[in-house]
Symmetry: C2
Subunit: 287 residues, 2 copies
Amino acid sequence: MTSSTKLTLVSSNKCFNGEQRVYSHESSEVGCTMKFGIFLPASALDGTKLPVLYWLSGLTCTEQNFITKAGAQRVAAKQNVIIVNPDTSPRGCNIEGEDDSYDFGTGAGFYVDATTEKWKKNYRMYSYVTIELIDVINENFQTIPDRKGIFGHSMGGHGALICALKNPGLYRSVSAFAPIAHPTKCAWGKKCFTGYLGPDDHVWREYDATELVKSYNGPPLDILVDQGASDDFLKEGQLLPERLMESCAESKMPCIMRMQEGYDHSYYFISTFIEDHINHHAKHLHG
Amino acid sequence: MTSSTKLTLVSSNKCFNGEQRVYSHESSEVGCTMKFGIFLPASALDGTKLPVLYWLSGLTCTEQNFITKAGAQRVAAKQNVIIVNPDTSPRGCNIEGEDDSYDFGTGAGFYVDATTEKWKKNYRMYSYVTIELIDVINENFQTIPDRKGIFGHSMGGHGALICALKNPGLYRSVSAFAPIAHPTKCAWGKKCFTGYLGPDDHVWREYDATELVKSYNGPPLDILVDQGASDDFLKEGQLLPERLMESCAESKMPCIMRMQEGYDHSYYFISTFIEDHINHHAKHLHG
C-alpha cells in the first residue's frame, strides 16, 4: 500500500441523505481487481471524520448483497458511521478449480491467508481485510483511524470474529450474524482449510474463533451474536455457535448470543436485527 | 374468482417478527401462473384483521425486487399493515415478441387491460390488480376488505395512480415514487399503449393519471409523490410529474410532490422514503 492506490468509482447512489458507493481498485495483497461498497453518511460527505464499521459477507456473496438487502444505510446514517463491505474473494485469477463449487474458491475466500501452492498468491483475504483495505479506506476517506468495528454474516461472521480475535485493539467492536463459529469442526471449514491451508489441522486453529477465544489476550471484546433458531445450516452443524459460547464462558470473554426463534439464514434475518448490531458498534465506536 | 383459488407457497421467511411470503396461483384474468409477495405482520399471523397496502413495481421487476430491497417490512410491522406486491406482467404465455424488449411484454404489463388481438387474452394486469388479486387476498388472509391502499414505483407508480383514480372509493390512499405520470406523452407509455391498446391515442387517456385526475369524481385522494431530482428518466421526459401537478392544481386534487435533491430512480431512493409513504397510507388506512 502506498499513497498511489487508485480507486475507481463503480457506482454512487444517494441513500438516506448520504451516498452508497461501490469502488474497485487493484489489490496488491490478492493480486487482482477488488470491489468494495462504502456507505458515507451525509456528515462524512461534508468532511466530518467518522468511525468505520467493516462488514464481511458470506459464501457466494459479492459486495452487492449487503448494500441492497440489509437495510444498513438507514441506521448508519442515524449513527454516523461509515460502513465498508468488501467482496468475499479474489475473482478471475484463472486458478484451476476456482469456480468449481459455491463453497470454495470464488465467493468463498474464507478470510484466511492461503499457504497451499495453488492458492497462496491470491487467496489472502485475511491480510486484505485487516491491512490493505483499512489502509485504502483511511487514505481515501475522512475516517477516525483508531475507531473501527467489524461484523459479518455466516462465513463473514467467522471472518469478523477471527479478524478481531487475532488483532487485539485493532477493532473496538465485533459482532456476527449466524457465524461459522467453529470452522475446524464443520464441513464448510474443513473443506476451505484443507484447500487453502493444507491437511494439518493444527494450523487451522489460527483461523477458528472458538479456538482463538481461548488464547485471546487483549482489551475485552463485547461480542454480540445473533443466530436464527430455524437456520438450516445450524441444524446441519455448519455453524456451531454453542461451541463458541462454551469457549467464551471458559475464557470469561463477554459474549451475548441471542437465539432468534423462527429466523433462518437469509438477509430477511439480517435486516431484522441489523439495527441492533449497528447500535452495538456505535456505542463502542463513539464511546 | 371462486373460493377454489388455490395458493401455492413458494417461500416464507421470518422478518421483523412477521413473515415475508411469496405465493403463486393460477390467474383467470391473465391466464397463467402469477406470483405475488405478501408481508404479514406478527398480528396478522395471530389472526388480527389488518388493512392491505398494494405495491406495484416498475419495468423489468418481479415480486422479488421490492421484498428484498425496499426495506418495507420494518415499517409495515410497526404500522400493522399487510403489504402485497404482484409481479409486473404475465410470464411464459408464448406470445411472439413477448421477450424482445425490457419495456414491452414480459416485465412490462403497464397495468392496462390490452385490447389488441395478440395481447388481449393475457395482458390484463389492470383487472388482475384491481379485481382478482384483491379477491385472492381477501379470501386467503385476515384482511379488512374496505381498508386498502396502493402505491408503486415508476411504471408501478403510474399503475397505482390509475387504479386509484379509475376506482373512486376502492382504495383509501395512494402514493407513488417517480411515477410515469403522463404516459400518453412519453416514449415508454406510447410504446406500451400502442402495443396493448392500438394506435388510437384517445383510448390511451383512460390509463393516464394526468388525464384521469381531470375527470375524477369521488372521495378526495390525498396523493403523495416523491421524485428524485437526479433521476435520469426525469431528465429524459419519461416521467413528467410536473404535468400531473398542473392537472391536480387545475382539478383541486390534493397532491404533494416532493422533489428530492440528488436522488435517482433506484431502490436506494425508494428505501430512503418508504417509511414516509407507509406512514402516509397508515394514517388513512387506520383512520
